[in-house]
Amino acid sequence: MSDKTLTRADLAEAVYQEVGLSRQESADLVQSVLTMVSDTLANGENVKLSSFGSFLLRDKRGRVGRNPKTGVEVPIEERRVLVFKPSQVLKERVDSSLSKD
């Protein structure tokens, strides 16, 4: 696997190139997309983006966990977590370009 890391700036540059808005507006819109997805999730609502994937909220019950190193029991409180379920399209894109047959 390569070790390149993309950031907001790279996505803003792609929007600038593809859509032809100003650099400032492109950067602002990338942030708006992320903010709107985050706000929706923080409001208890799942976000499903077809051909990309779904951001799904899950309520987890509390349980007794264990420090694997020391074996000491620690309580894990009930919590809400976010999981990303990639779409079939995204999974196939990634696997077909990276796995050898």
């Binding site: 390149k4 808005l21 819109l29 208890g44 077809s50 919590r79 990634v94 696997d95 990276l98 796995s99």
Partner: protein, 102 residues
């Protein structure tokens, strides 16, 4: 919320933009992440989360019906780790929004 609703809401918040341009913004962001992952790269979006690719090594699997051994090839799968800020906001929503929707 689905993609078309996300685009509509963004378009509403940006009345100076064409709806089709907002649509292209959202698709460009998602395509940018997809292309990066397909190239084996990471995408790190502070506060939101990080997308990466995990490699599941080849293994010998079993047909659960017949018990027969089958070779399962190595597989690369997209992976998302929620960022600290979003993780905390999502957990806090448990108190204010007990019921999950969408």
């Amino acid at each position: 919320m689905i993609k078309s609703e996300l685009i509509d809401k963004l378009a509403e918040a940006n009345p100076h933009l064409y709806h089709r341009d907002v649509e292209r913004v959202v698709n460009t962001v998602l395509d940018g992440i997809t292309d990066a992952l397909a190239a084996g790269d990471r995408v790190e979006l502070r506060g939101f989360g990080a997308f990466s690719v995990r490699c599941r090594p080849a293994r010998v699997g079993r047909n659960p019906r017949t018990g027969e051994s089958v070779a399962v090839k190595e597989k690369h799968v997209p992976f998302f780790k929620t960022g600290k800020e979003l993780r905390e906001r999502v957990d806090e929503s448990r108190a204010s929004v007990p019921e999950l929707t969408g």
